[in-house]
Amino acid sequence: MRVAPEGRGLRALVLAALAFGLIGPIAAGLWATARAGFGVMPVIGATEASLAPWSALFALPGLATSLKVTAFTGIVSTLLSLILALALTAALQPRLTGGRAARLLAPFLAIPHAALAIGLAFVLTPSGWIARLLAPILGLDRPPDIALVGDPWGIALILGLMLKEVPFLMLVSLAGLTQIPLAQHLAAGRSLGYGRAAVWLKLIVPQLWPLIRLPVMVVLAYALSTVEMGLILGPSNPPVLAVLLTRLFFAPDTALLLPASAGALLQGGLVAAAFALLWLTERALAMAGRFWLCRGGRGHGLDPILPLARGLGMIAAALGALAMLALLTWSFAWRWPWPAALPESWSLRAWTGAAPGLARALGLTLALALATTALSLALAVAWLEGEDRARSPRAPWAEALIYLPLLVPQIGFLYGLNVLFLRLGLSGGLAAVIWAQALFVFPYVMITLSDPWRALDPRLARAAASLGAGPWRRLFTVKLPVLIAPILTAAAIGVAVSVAQYLPTLFMGAGRIATLTTEAVTLSSGSDRRVTGAYATLQTALPLAAYAAAFLVPALLHRDRRALRGGGA
């Protein structure tokens, strides 16, 4: 009985922190954007509410095409990523548990979206690496004039998104599987004569789906609103909606801020519509699936899916690895003209030339990553511990709340958020950037930490309680040490997310907080691959070091505790 008020206090504290720190800013940002979208933005002299921004938006040439391409690339990339991630998980699961999976996936999780996109563009483009290898064989003296990157359908964009999202979805699927009595269900299915793929499809995936639904929605929202990847890999005339809006937001004519804001609302609407579609599909599949399950087919015909997935997964991994290798090679190149397969001349200038700025940016990036991750981790642990003490599962609204910053397109609230921070006198400082980054780091930390936390054997805490340990002692001496591996994995992901933040850092830091990512984007404007390569290597190295620490620290701490060693996530 003594425990209850304490638990309630902790929960109230966490809720208050979230309400003021998370929902408040986002709501304020959305409010400012919504007002501007309906014509009210006093600072540029717009005071009359009207629908004019909307008619200006819909009068933009190519808007319909842009919407179509955005919806197509967003939905198709998410769908394909999900299918491939599940099939790969099923195909590799017996050999791919815990730390091994995380080690394999870590580089793909660590590399920032923009860097991967630039590397991939160089691999795929008609003057790129693959074409250069083929040029002597095919006798090409000039690159063929084919749109392999930036194609009107957005195929290259879909591919780039998949390279980033499949590893992420695999990671959350593997974490989700720890919640399911996997071995028993697989054995039961096999003993009833179901094929391997069929067991997964009929038994495991329906149980896994509720555990990965929100991460899938995060992927969907990201794919529909990415600026960097759309810019580098997507079509250009017209571009995807988020790129179109960025152009409007940064047009010299400030009156365009109004239709840009209306467009940000439209972007939000598009994401909401995609969520509705997902929900409808889920319902329809649930009904059709029940029928299909009851028919009882053993589904041996499905088994070739698994080697196929393995093959596709290997191709994807090879492409991703090539993209990363391309960036690393470029960072040491000097001249590397078409059709040379390797640089004509080498140089360290990309590294040494940027060195002074690089060192400062590295320091700031590291400081920001540590601060945002520590903050997010503390909040996440407090939230999860609060749930434990209340002995209540998470309400759906609370779940949605955590994910809110990832579900609302960034461009829809960052401008308004900036105005709010300015009013509070916060903008332009480290604190503002930490706050803004934490909005996006916290959800990922929660995604990664929640499942291992719930999977913790409750008997440990009960045993400690029966030995007289209070709730705080149980938290600090039992739960946290046992959960050190997943906590460090969550921290590593937090570091990766923090390092990659571009728009929040730029807006809230008034451009003064120069991190690796903001420097990489501005220095090269996306075009000097050597500089991009140097920065991207560091951008990837920092989270990779965090992942390495996440594997090594538990292994060292728990070198004599076998069950605690493997990264649970």
Partner: protein, 397 residues
């Protein structure tokens, strides 16, 4: 009272020169210890290095530090000042100085977002030609009125690879037959980008029936009449552009990368020294050279402006003044450093200043000013907006 005013006016007229000097000393005193946040496009490593050098020098000489806030687009800084105004932060703003261009200058001037006039209070403004109508007094036909200070010249030029092309097109009109003979070998940045719009403007000036109409705001009828030949020219050109005219590079540096990758043979810049600089950076083949259309090319002056709420206004003025010093301008025009052409009026330089410019090194890829032909004046800023919109209307589906 009247007598007092008259006396003051007399005193002021008698003592103009010392008064300016005193005021400037006051500015220098106030600036000491300030850190100027200079918001400038950060996409060019050599410009970034030059800005770093400027900061080292102003710190050493005047105790004014410079921090380069690197932008991907100048409008970022404009948006930042707007959101500060929205939040009521009328003092202590985060942007002290902006490297600004015509359309953004017009927007900020119209919205009352600029500090000034301040140019005439800069001692080094004496080296500028500020007579009415001089290039440093108008920005996209908008009168500068002392609200922004010049620092480098911009000229529109093309670059081509002499190893691949023998004779580049001589006029904008000749791009059509050239592209027909070399399909897919040229393109231009998307016109929503500054450089893409400039390409269209360059063609517009050459092709418009009456180029003088471009100096006034673009009304509907005038716009339709002036642009009709442009669109006929573009419709003939577009099918033979890179990717069949269905995709365009985002900006000039992406286009330069396409040229370096061998995908196209022509790039374009707003700086005659840019190709020479790019060769030295390994970003273009050694065989790249500059060409301009026979009738000359668009030129303008790059300026720096100070927002109305700048926290370090005096420091920004000290930096703007330092940028106009003859030795700074000579350093800037040195192709080993940056190569950007100076904005100073040679006639106003003293012997030491002239000698500094005469001693600058040469580069085979660097054109001489007389090779660039006449400078064409920028159309009124409204033409750029309308051209961009009309291009999208015609070419984006």
């Amino acid at each position: 009272m009247r007598l007092h005013l008259a006396a003051a006016a007399l005193a002021a007229s008698l003592a103009t020169a010392p008064a300016v000097a005193d005021d400037w000393q006051a500015t220098l005193d106030a600036a000491r210890g300030q850190t100027v946040f200079w918001n400038a496009w950060g996409g060019d490593g050599r410009t970034n290095a030059f800005i770093d050098w400027v900061g080292d020098e102003t710190a050493r000489r005047f105790g004014v530090e410079v921090r380069h806030v690197k932008l991907t687009d100048t409008a970022e800084a404009v948006t930042r000042v707007i959101s500060e105004k929205a939040a009521g932060r009328d003092e202590g703003g985060s942007v002290d100085m902006i490297w600004i261009n015509g359309p953004n200058f017009l927007a900020m001037k119209e919205q009352g977002l600029l500090h000034g006039p301040f140019v005439e209070s800069l001692p080094n403004a004496a080296y500028l030609d500020l007579s009415p109508g001089a290039p440093a007094t108008v920005d996209f036909t908008e009168p500068v009125e002392g609200m922004e200070s010049p620092w480098r010249l911009a000229r529109f030029v093309f670059a081509f690879d002499t190893a691949r092309i023998d004779v580049p097109p001589e006029t904008m009109a000749e791009f059509v037959p050239w592209a027909e003979a070399h399909p897919g070998r040229m393109t231009h940045p998307d016109p929503s980008n500054f450089m893409g719009a400039t390409f269209l403007k360059q063609a517009l000036i050459e092709l418009a029936p009456d180029a003088s109409a471009l100096q006034s705001p673009a009304g509907d009828a005038v716009f339709a009449e002036a642009t009709a030949p442009l669109w006929a020219w573009y419709d003939a050109l577009r099918p033979n552009l890179w990717r069949g005219g269905a995709a365009f590079p985002e900006n000039e540096s992406i286009q330069q990368q396409l040229m370096n990758d061998g995908e196209i043979d022509i790039a374009m810049y707003f700086d005659p020294a840019a190709p020479a600089a790019a060769i030295r950076q390994g970003l273009l083949p050694d065989t790249a050279r500059v060409f301009v259309p026979k009738g000359g090319s668009i030129g303008n002056v790059s300026f720096v402006a100070i927002p109305y709420n700048a926290a370090n206004r005096e420091g920004a003025m000290v930096v703007a003044n330092f940028l106009l010093a003859p030795e700074t301008q000579a350093q800037m025009q040195n192709i080993d450093v940056l190569g950007a052409f100076s904005v100073l009026d040679p006639a106003r330089l003293d012997d030491a200043g002239r000698a500094a410019f005469a001693a600058l090194p040469d580069d085979p890829a660097l054109p001489r000013l007389d090779e660039l032909g006449p400078t064409l004046i920028e159309p009124h800023a409204s033409w750029m907006t309308r051209l961009t919109e009309a291009w999208a209307d015609r070419n984006t589906r």
